[in-house]
Symmetry: C2
Subunit: 345 residues, 2 copies
């Protein structure tokens, strides 16, 4: 909400920083290099549910110090670390769902910081799935929280330092600009919600505008525009899109509108998209599409018990996923990595 | 992002809880009672910038324990407490901007919890300005973070326990439903972004759909629909709207579509709406519109130095706002409270 009084420093900063001004290189180039190096487009989703952690995480977290929040947060961090150890080397990035940490309060936020550090140490890109979007000083505060730092009389406070943040474009250009700017300055990027994979996407995103395009297509045009000054040598920009479209023709249209965007896609499998559906994402190259999976990997050891995953004699690789959570996660991640890599090749 | 595998418990809960099932009464009734009791529709925005805290907050926070984040978070909490002490009794609610706390990491989140508790002790409603919006398990996780609790093997972890949360409706009905449900169960509410006050609102919210209404109007219809089962005895529902529309005819249209929604409005004053503009908000009664102000109050002692607040001999009450930050804040809040109360009367 804008207030009656706008302080002098509330102006939205211009999108003046161009890709490559960061010492680390541009986000698009960093994604392209990481995909090439790790031969993977798989993104490990981290949505830890404290009631469904791996048993080994509860053991490893140990100790009885602190209240429920502190203990649960330690266990959540341990669970994510085990998951990283098991499946991290099959992936190019991790995607912590911020809501799952925030519900544990301050200790949850500390666990999130730890997970971000752990993933970075393992050379994984970190995509904070937070779907933030706000205006002027608030947008800049989120930029500080996720990409930058905050000046205080006691010294600078570093933000999470993620490589990428999912953002909501509902509030328009001037709400995204400060986040894009904060990301760009450090070679990071944002992924704007363009077409999500839930049924509710039909309520607004699929609606047709008077000008003929859908809301999603209008958002895609905004993504392309904001990302234009941030296109790196690999041809990918630092403003990407969450495109959970399962209909291949829809993804094709969005790709035409955003030829240089990194697309974050939902997992493939029984209730996700099929391989062919995702093909348009890879038009700019193998790093054009990042495919996320979380529950499919973390609960792979329970796969036979999930109603949406009936045991099937026609998919033998499913059966090798049985066993310990850690081994099952690694096997399932390896299977998905190969499957997705094969889509581009 | 949906994953390939949906666990059994991932279904969106039905919106079965009706207003009044909470022991505290419905959100609409609680807002109506609070507005009546406090004779105020003023919402105190809390957007603490660690670099611009009141000097007394820095003194009060004291101590050199901890790093910059801990010290800044203590000072931020002290600043908010001073602001509450100064201006709280002129207000009906506080609206902490979550981004401003999140940028201080875990200590920032702890400060936010403290501010929520302080405000509740002062009998103020708490509106967390977080603009959250996500799908299925993530939406429910945000519901736990802000309204409910999270089950863990170590006991339940309580969420922030706010009375209201701003939410983003871009992802549609099924993304809002879990948040509405979590709020309704405890007599809390949500305020969905319908028309924000920033220039970027034109990029999407003001666009006309093929069916003739604007995106904002479509969102308003969704607000009315989701709030229908949550209308209390006072005629206000538990799904309200952020309506930063400054054009009176636009607010009038939105009010027609959402006759029972509590509207959160931007501040009135030099760069905000004029009093007459806000009139449609109060059609359902004095609690139909809540008017937020943050910088106008917290920086009231600097009012003369702000370019948008030129000293003017025609507004003598402005001049009484000079003096200590605390006194200036109280005077400005009192002035705004009366001004807004007068709009309805």
């Amino acid at each position: 909400m804008a207030d009656a009084v706008q302080p002098v420093d509330a102006a939205v900063p211009p999108l003046g920083t161009h890709a490559g001004q960061s010492e680390r290189g541009s986000f698009g180039d960093r994604v392209a290099a990481a995909v090439h190096r790790r031969r993977s487009q798989l993104v490990l989703g981290l949505d830890p549910d404290p009631a469904r952690l791996w048993p080994a995480a509860l053991e490893r977290a140990g100790g009885t110090e602190g209240g429920p929040a502190e203990r649960a947060a330690r266990a959540v961090a341990a669970h994510c670390r085990l998951l990283l150890e098991a499946a991290g080397d099959q992936c190019v990035a991790v995607k912590p769902q911020v809501a799952c940490f925030e519900r544990l309060g301050a200790p949850g936020w500390a666990a999130l910081s730890e997970v971000v550090r752990d993933a970075a140490e393992q050379d994984l890109l970190v995509i904070a799935d937070a779907k933030r979007g706000d205006i002027d000083i608030s947008a800049r505060a989120y930029g500080q929280a996720f990409f930058g730092h905050t000046a205080t009389p006691f010294g600078d406070v570093e933000g999470l330092g993620v490589d990428c943040l999912t953002v909501s474009p509902l509030l328009g250009r001037d709400s995204l600009a400060p986040l894009v700017q904060a990301a760009r300055e450090r070679g990071s990027g944002v992924l704007a919600l363009v077409r999500t994979s839930n049924p509710g996407a039909a309520d607004l995103q699929d609606r047709e505008l008077a000008t003929g395009e859908t809301v999603s297509e209008a958002l895609a045009a905004l993504v392309d525009e904001l990302g234009a000054p941030g296109v790196g040598a690999a041809g990918l920009s630092d403003v990407g899109a969450v495109t959970g479209a399962t209909a291949p023709q829809r993804l094709e249209v969005l790709r035409t509108i955003m030829p240089r965007a990194v697309m974050l896609l939902p997992g493939i499998g029984p209730q996700g998209a099929s391989g062919r559906d995702l093909a348009p994402a890879f038009a700019p190259g193998p790093a054009g599409g990042l495919v996320s999976a979380s529950r499919a990997i973390v609960y792979a050891h329970e796969a036979d018990r999930l109603p949406s995953h009936p045991p099937s004699s026609s998919s033998p690789s499913r059966h090798s996923a049985a066993g310990t959570p850690s081994r099952a996660a690694r096997d399932e991640a390896a299977r998905l990595r190969e499957l997705i890599w094969g889509l581009y090749a």
